[in-house]
Amino acid sequence: MDQQLELLLEIQDLRMQRRELTDGSTDLEAEVFDVKIEDAIRSLDEKVEELAERLARGIRERYRRIADKAPRVVAPVINGICYGCFVAVSTARASEADRNLRVESCEYCGCFLYHVG
């Protein structure tokens, strides 16, 4: 897997974790797991920023443009469908040989693409 894509995946998963803490599992995390929500959010924000700084300049700029507008910066591609916009990605992009070996974006929604499975 492309190392930049791996960084993007990690960033996306952390952003999801942050979103869940503020909009979904807040009570569960605080009451069952004793998570200090504000501290956790601050920690996640710092980690996301640290990882974003490790992205190559061009990718980082694209990342920031997407991240400013949408909660999702990386969309999974499952069975040839981009789950950011539910449009089929081109066959060439979905080919087995070079899946996840380079950073690609969906031509429709702009999300970075990660082929799952």
């Binding site: 897997m1 791996e6 995946l9 990690e10 996306q12 998963d13 952390l14 999801m16 974790q17 869940e20 979904g24 599992s25 569960l28 995390e29 069952v32 797991f33 004793d34 998570v35 200090k36 501290d39 956790a40 920690s43 996640l44 980690k47 999702r72 990386v74 999974p76 499952i78 789950y83 990660y114 799952v116 499975g117």
Partner: protein
């Protein structure tokens, strides 16, 4: 959907080889049948969640959990280590029973949080730690969930 329908025998390990929390997380992730790269990413994300606060909820039970792009559907696993693992649990006691829950960012059925809540509730029942200690097969684990109507 009932909790027992989510557990498959290959993801129920009643004798974890792990001696540490990190090893236990890796061992349980390996039960999910993902490729090596995905396992690494998932492990890293579970560790990041643990860094926000231990998922050891006390009474010997831990529920590591996260969402990640590397899975396409909700996945669960159960591991037991009767000699105990240092999980930095809330009650500071060793963890003997580990429930792993991972889910993709988007789920059509939106089961992740309800499943997390159900397992947390299950873990709080007074007789559960003892019942988990007595299990001798993955099938008995499923039967225990059935007996609890989960």
């Amino acid at each position: 959907m009932q909790l027992r329908e989510l557990f498959v025998p290959s993801a129920i390990n009643l004798d974890l080889a792990a001696e540490t929390k990190d090893e236990a997380l890796k061992e349980l992730v390996s039960c999910l049948g993902l490729d090596g790269k995905s396992e690494g990413i998932l492990y890293k994300m579970l560790k990041r969640r643990e860094n926000l606060g231990s998922t050891g909820i006390g009474r010997g039970i831990a529920i590591p959990h996260c969402r990640s792009l590397v899975v396409t559907r909700l996945r669960v696993a159960f591991g037991r280590k009767l000699s105990g693992l240092d999980f930095k649990a809330i009650d500071e006691k060793p963890v003997r029973y580990v429930f792993l829950i991972v889910a993709p960012p988007l789920e059509v059925s939106n089961q992740y949080l309800p499943v997390l809540g159900k397992i947390a509730q299950f873990g709080k029942e007074a007789d559960v730690p003892e019942a988990l200690a007595e299990l001798s097969s993955p099938e008995q684990f499923i039967e225990l969930l059935e007996a609890k109507d989960l």
